[in-house]
């Protein structure tokens, strides 16, 4: 009983202490502009620390929405880039008095499934033929080539990943260098090999490797990676190691590109 009375007494002391301090502080606050400004600033700092922390948690749960918005913006920028490149190409072609080609159409998609660990990796996209995806379309990001669409259903598309022993894409060393075939090295996720580069084309390690545009699947001048060491094959061609820009472990949003002249050219070839 005595213990309880002692606790109540201590609590009462504390309450009165706090009340008196608050009263005194209120007097200081309302009579001294400098102290008022300082107290307000301190309160803002405190609120920033406390409520700012809770905002970060909120931001974390909004990341998916933010990512999707960024992907949309990224897609819009990629589309603009392709259109600009196409206009440049047309302007270049016009000066050479050749016929215009329709160019590439683009479509944003999200990767819903992707394999990494095999020799024949693949990815599945959340867009199908009802969304406008066609077979034999390229799959790219701003970091390079991701794969090639092989089959489409109404709402999904199946694509071979570039990390696939059966896939090769036409690539070029620098903007004016020699072209060859870029294939995955089959071992690491970030490396490829550029084959069949004629010996007369000189290059420096560190040169950028681009899509050549000779393939019907990918537009030209998409940066793919950086050239590294090389070795001569059969005394006639160079085989160059390429460090890819694309991180295949973090792909989520991609752009599907389709050559509008693909069928016409294929028929012509046949």
């Amino acid at each position: 009983m005595q213990k309880r009375t002692s606790w109540i007494s201590k609590l009462a002391n504390l309450v009165i202490f706090v009340l008196l301090e608050m009263t005194a502080f209120q007097m200081v606050y309302s009579n001294a502009p400098l102290q008022r400004s300082w107290a307000a600033h301190s309160a803002h700092v405190f609120m920033d620390k406390v409520w700012g922390g809770s905002n970060y948690i909120g931001y974390y749960f909004q990341l998916r929405g933010v990512n999707e918005q960024l992907a949309q913006e990224n897609f819009a920028l990629t589309e603009e880039l392709f259109q600009a490149r196409e206009q440049l190409r047309k302007a270049h072609v016009d000066t050479m008095a050749l016929d215009n080609r329709p160019g590439f159409s683009t479509l944003a998609a999200e990767v819903v499934k992707m394999s990494h660990n095999g020799q024949h990796n693949y990815l599945i996209l959340n867009k199908g033929y009802e969304d406008g995806v066609q077979e034999k379309s390229g799959v790219v990001t701003h970091n390079g080539v991701v794969g090639i669409v092989d089959a489409v259903s109404a709402h999904h598309a199946f694509a071979f990943s570039f990390q696939n022993n059966d896939i090769s894409i036409s690539a070029r060393l620098g903007l004016e260098g020699g072209s060859g075939l870029l294939v995955w090295d089959g071992v690491s996720s970030g490396k490829a090999v550029l084959k069949e580069i004629p010996l007369q084309y000189k290059y420096q390690p560190g040169d950028t490797v681009f899509t050549s545009g000779h393939s019907l699947l990918f537009p030209p001048d998409i940066p793919l990676g950086i050239a590294g060491g090389s070795r001569v094959i059969n005394g006639s061609t160079n085989e160059i190691e390429v460090k890819l820009f694309q991180d295949f472990g973090s792909i989520r949003y991609v752009t599907v590109v389709h050559n509008n002249s693909f069928d016409e050219i294929e028929q012509f070839v046949q």
Partner: protein, 170 residues
């Protein structure tokens, strides 16, 4: 000491503090005060709440009647009253509370009394200097002000001890 005489001295010392605050402005680094010593000398029979209310009223009187910032002395003095029993218990032990006696230099010793005053003044000056600087003074200025004011005020407070905590045997 008779209680009415104590309170008479107490009121006179409040007036003395007013004179100190209004007329003795030697340096921005020096703030002379006897208020913490006065609060420490209030009889332990008054209790914590009573001491806090007296400290609040004392601080507010000085604030209103001097050219200082209203509420600042009260804000700094109430914590001294709140922690007063703790300081006395820490420095002089529980015997004073058991016998309901007040401390004095003659009975409890000069060293212990100075230690109690040092703690009370430190508490008062920490709050006072911190709030008064309002975050615009550098730490060095505050530290020098705290140290200089603590030393000078401790010396002045010795005078108040003779009035508020005299030798009980006399």
């Amino acid at each position: 000491m008779r209680r009415d005489v104590f309170w008479l001295y107490y009121v006179l010392l409040v007036i003395a503090q007013l004179l100190l605050t209004n007329y003795l402005r030697v340096s921005p680094y020096l703030m002379l005060t006897i208020l913490p010593a006065m609060v420490l000398c209030i009889s332990i029979r008054v209790g914590c709440v009573g001491a806090m209310l007296i400290a609040f009223a004392t601080g507010l009187s000085v604030d209103f009647l001097s050219e200082g910032m209203i509420g600042l002395n009260a804000l700094a003095l109430v914590p001294v009253a709140y922690f007063r029993n703790g300081i006395i218990r820490l420095v002089f032990g529980n015997e004073l509370f058991a016998r309901s006696e007040d401390f004095s230099v003659q009975r409890n010793g000069f060293g212990k009394t100075m230690l109690a005053l040092l703690l009370a003044y430190s508490l008062f000056l920490m709050v006072y200097v911190w709030i008064d600087s309002a975050g615009v003074r550098p730490l060095l200025f505050n530290a020098i002000r705290f140290t200089v004011s603590l030393g000078a005020s401790l010396l002045v407070s010795l005078l108040t001890l003779g009035l508020l905590a005299p030798d009980p045997r006399r």
